[in-house]
């Protein structure tokens, strides 16, 4: 390749994709945690 610097465009693209997917996973993780807490609270409320 003539211009070596151009490869970093690919790096930037891949990094973006990866970060995007990770953020997505994080948001799912948080949602699940919230749901689990809700159910825990409902259960302890029902027990009382």
């Amino acid at each position: 390749m003539e211009d070596y610097g151009k490869i970093f465009v690919v790096v930037a693209v891949l990094a973006t994709i990866l970060i995007g997917l990770l953020v997505y996973l994080f948001s799912i993780d948080r949602k699940v945690s919230r749901l689990e807490k809700e159910i825990e609270e409902k259960k302890s409320n029902a027990d009382r």
């Binding site: 990094a15 990866l18 996973l25 993780d29 699940v32 689990e36 159910i39």
Partner: protein, 218 residues
């Protein structure tokens, strides 16, 4: 442990490192040149799949020991994620092969073994789909998982032998074993593999948690 974030962030960091460093690190001058960098990603998929299937195997055994439904859930979701890794591995392999060898598929023991391995686990999913009763399904699929996994391992370990016996060297790609790997590539490869495996475990835990929530709702 499942809800902690540190190892998930670690996974993200490792994978980011794998992407950035993967392009910067020096690759030895072989026939396939720059595409060798695919090692960090395509082979990472295989290691991820391997790890997932091992987890599935372990949890299937644990299920047969104690019959706790949680462990069957982990086993099936591990196989699920393993299948995803496997499909990605095969697709990326086909893309790479097309550029390197001119065709997306060749009759090679390693490739055939990979394909058959995937079909074995797809059969597992079909088996599960055919048993409506929860306990029976868990028990029968655990037995099949253990049986299939051991056979799968035997076959995957046979492949190097088969490749050694045949004229075709197995793969014209660079050696896939870390021992043969150029030391500078190793520095990216190991962290990348760990990153992929951690990512797989993360997705696995999420799937299991979502399943449990679903079961609680119904």
């Amino acid at each position: 442990m499942i809800r902690k974030y540190w190892w998930k962030i670690l996974a993200g960091v490792l994978l980011l490192y794998a992407i950035v460093a993967g392009f910067i690190v020096h690759v030895p001058d072989t026939m396939i040149r720059e595409t060798m960098r695919n090692l960090f990603y395509h082979v990472g998929m295989w290691f991820g799949m391997f790890a997932m299937l091992i987890i599935g195997f372990i949890y299937s055994i644990r299920y047969l020991v104690r019959f706790r439904e949680q462990e069957d859930l982990v086993a099936v979701e591990a196989v699920n994620v393993g299948i995803v890794f496997g499909i990605l591995g095969i697709i990326t392999g086909m893309i790479w092969a097309n550029f390197t060898w001119g065709a997306p598929w060749v009759k090679d023991p390693k490739l055939n073994g990979a394909a058959v391995g995937l079909v074995i686990y797809l059969a597992y999913m079909i088996l599960r789909g055919s048993i409506p009763d929860v306990h029976k399904r868990a028990k029968v699929s655990a037995v099949y998982n253990i049986f299939a996994f051991v056979l799968w391992i035997v076959f995957v370990l046979i492949l190097p032998r088969l490749a050694g016996e045949s004229i075709h060297p197995g793969k014209e790609a660079p050696p896939v074993l870390p021992m043969h790997l150029d030391p500078s590539m190793r520095m990216v490869f190991y962290p990348a593999v760990i990153g992929w495996i951690l990512l797989g475990i993360w997705i696995l835990t999420l799937r299991v948690r979502i399943r449990k929530l679903n079961d609680l709702m119904t």
